[in-house]
């Protein structure tokens, strides 16, 4: 088993197969439709990128949504000014988000711990507030940036006859609605996952982990930690920009609410829920949160009544009354509770849960080794 995971090409092969067949194996649980699958992919990219910063270096950024928002704006501007092809838009989104994160990272990384969190939070809130007020010419304020028929679209106007109504986003004449959009995003997720895998297993990734475990010791051994931190920050900012670009590619509009700190909080929740610092954990977190968001918020009292229909009437009504605050409008309550329980009992997220189960099963075979491991983790 260990040997299998050591071979990155095999891992990638299995991973790609699992991602690309998602429409098939997710349809029995009602998640096999393109809209949700696209969300899985986009937020997956976002969370993978966030995990490179938070998971490896331990720097908790509370402002990552700003990069996602900036990426969205950049992509929509590319649609408006250049072409409806998504490729330039996405490249543009990554570059702009990258530059933005260089600036913010350079300043924020002068501090660590909670101060770093507050600094990133402050920058994200500044971007959000500015996008709503002064930067309205760029961001179109509360309405959000949208496509218009009258946009110049310089490159498109040379090659394509203008159509009736708004043009759609495309990838070299391939339209990006429905499953095509999903596969397009999935390709990026697979590439993103591969890069993250390489980073996790590279000397660079090792240095990032060293920063997490003891930055001072790292400095004493002669490394300047700042460049490594900044590169990790910029890489994760670029992932966020890519996610923002893809968001705009599948649905060409961008709004400031994507930059609000609650959006940054969401990606933190996803990463933690799945398992910080693990490769696959953030993706699990994204899947679970987005899935339950869609499923739980669609449940109403009638659905509950039907679900409990086999029970005696008094019990049925009781159960419906008890569970109805947790579904539909109140699904955030479920999310909050679930999240609290995870942080309290499983700080390592779902991946730690798997680990514990595995250890429980393996216990009779290798007791001593595990005891040492768990004692080390306790510190």
């Amino acid at each position: 088993m260990k040997k299998f995971f050591a071979n990155q090409w095999l891992v990638m092969l299995v991973f790609s197969a699992v991602i690309l067949t998602m429409p098939i194996w997710l349809s029995p649980i009602g998640a096999g439709y393109p809209d949700l699958l696209q969300k899985f992919m986009i937020f997956g990219i976002f969370a993978i990128g966030f995990n490179i910063l938070f998971g490896l270096t331990g720097y908790l950024s509370f402002g990552h949504a700003a990069f996602l928002g900036v990426g969205s704006y950049a992509a929509v501007w590319s649609f408006k000014l250049l072409t409806m092809n998504v490729l330039p838009a996405i490249i543009f989104a990554i570059i702009v988000a990258g530059l933005f994160s260089v600036v913010i990272g350079y300043i924020s990384l002068r501090r660590s711990g909670i101060y770093f969190s507050i600094l990133t939070l402050a920058f994200a809130q500044m971007s959000y507030n500015l996008a709503y007020s002064v930067l309205t010419p760029v961001t179109n304020g509360e309405t959000g940036l949208q496509l218009e028929r009258a946009d110049p679209r310089i490159i498109d106007s040379l090659f394509v006859e203008p159509t009736e109504g708004l043009p759609l986003t495309n990838f070299f004449s391939l339209s990006l609605s429905g499953y095509e959009g999903f596969y397009f995003c999935a390709a990026f997720l697979i590439i993103g996952f591969f890069i993250s895998l390489r980073i996790f297993r590279s000397p660079f990734g090792l240095k990032l982990r060293a920063i997490k475990s003891n930055q001072t010791r790292m400095q004493y051994t002669g490394f300047s930690t700042k460049p490594y931190l900044l590169s990790a920050f910029v890489i994760s900012g670029m992932y966020a920009g890519l996610a923002g670009g893809l968001m705009a590619a599948t649905d060409p509009l961008a709004g400031a609410e994507r930059m609000q700190w609650t959006a940054s909080g969401e990606v933190v929740l996803m990463t933690i829920l799945g398992g910080v610092g693990t490769l696959i954990g953030p993706l699990l977190g994204v899947g679970i949160i987005k899935y339950f968001e869609n499923i739980f918020s669609a449940i109403n009292e009638n659905v509950l009544m039907a679900a409990y229909s086999g029970l005696p009437e008094g019990l049925q009504h009781f159960l419906v009354t008890v569970s109805s605050p947790f579904v539909g409008e109140g699904w955030h309550l479920t999310l909050g509770l679930m999240f609290m329980l995870v942080v309290i009992f499983l700080p390592g997220g779902i991946m730690e849960g798997f680990d514990r189960i595995k250890r429980l099963l393996m216990k009779p075979f290798s007791r001593n080794k595990d005891a040492v491991e768990s004692a080390e983790e306790g510190h």
């Binding site: 101060y115 600094l119 939070l121 507030n129 933190v268 929740l269």
Partner: protein, 338 residues
């Protein structure tokens, strides 16, 4: 000149709210060592205490409306009015100040329950985990409020007698241009009183002395045979009460809705960091400072020079302070150093 003074006053009442929330945050952080992202939700709970009190006082019965003679019409009359007449109406009018009597025991209870049930298990965990679990707690609290009170802001008016504006200018002989809402003036004075009481409590009582000693070095204090954990529970309750009082009194200025806590939380965290983690006077000072600067930045004259500055001033100051004075304005040495 008048405009400047008016902005100063404007800043004082908002600054009062920031200072009160930040005070509780710092108190909890300095003693328990817990970064509490749920503190904004406690502020919101306080505001909803005012809402609940108003609801209780205006519990109504259906009474036949005598003024309509063509058909049977009914109107809602609060019980208090039927029982006590004029006095009853007055009690209803004063629901926000009366709610303070509900806030204190209720928030103490909430604080106690949270500390015993949740926070105490997080003393030894990392700050990141504390942030995360209290963030989850904040979501849960605000969703509970949303489920019970809906998503819309609920107006909770101040008593009629202080509904208008005070002619502050004429008090100081500066003409009649300087008028300011009574309630916001009261809020400022109220926040000063609460801050004063909190400081006096910490400074002049034995309990306060122990708590301050615990802020310095909790291990030594517990080695001296003092049950510091039990005091910490009370400190957390105290912080919750302060946040609750701030929230309840703020209800007339800003009709409470379920996410008001989150809005204030981010700002008051920045206040705490600017003031210096673990410094109580720093939190109060930074609260008023940021409140006043924010209202100065929203003057038209300033905005015409630096557009958008009113939106970002607080965050900008936070960035500058954190980079120039790493410990914040009045931060103690050795607290949350990098």
């Amino acid at each position: 000149m008048d405009a400047l003074l008016l902005q100063l006053l404007n800043g004082l009442d908002k600054g009062g709210a920031y200072a009160l929330i930040a005070l509780g945050l710092t108190l909890v952080f300095g003693t328990l060592g817990v970064v509490n992202f749920g503190h904004g939700a406690l502020f919101m709970l306080g505001a909803f205490c005012a809402v609940v009190m108003q609801k209780i006082l205006t519990l109504s019965e259906k009474v036949k409306d005598e003024s309509v003679t063509f058909f049977d019409a009914y109107k809602e009359v609060p019980y208090l009015e039927t029982w006590f007449g004029e006095t009853g109406t007055m009690i209803i009018d004063w629901s926000v100040p009366i709610s303070l009597f509900l806030v204190i025991p209720f928030m103490m209870l909430v604080g106690w329950a949270l500390e015993r049930g949740l926070i105490k298990h997080f003393y030894k965990r990392t700050h990141a985990e504390q942030i995360l679990v209290t963030f989850g707690l904040a979501i849960v609290l605000q969703e509970i409020i949303k489920a019970n009170f809906g998503a819309n802001p609920i107006p909770t008016p101040a008593p009629d007698i202080v509904a208008g504006s005070a002619n502050v200018g004429s008090w100081f002989g500066m003409g009649d241009n300087l008028v300011y809402p009574w309630w916001r003036l009261i809020y400022f004075i109220f926040s000063m009183i609460v801050i004063f009481i909190a400081f006096a409590f910490l400074k002049f009582t034995t309990f306060g002395m122990v708590v301050r000693a615990g802020m310095q070095d909790r291990d030594t204090v517990s080695m001296l045979g003092i049950n510091i954990e039990r005091r910490f529970t009370i400190v957390f309750g105290l912080a919750a009460v302060i946040a609750g009082l701030a929230g309840a009194m703020y209800a007339p200025t800003l009709p409470p809705d379920y996410h008001m806590g989150m809005d204030f939380l981010v700002l008051s965290f920045i206040v705490v960091v600017v003031g210096g983690m673990g410094s109580l006077p720093g939190a109060v000072l930074a609260g008023f400072l940021l409140g006043i600067l924010q209202s100065f930045a929203s003057m038209n004259e300033v905005k015409s020079i630096l557009p958008g500055i009113d939106q970002i001033i607080i965050y900008l100051i936070a960035v500058v302070v954190l980079l120039v004075r790493p410990r914040g304005l009045m931060g103690r040495k050795g607290v949350m150093e990098d």
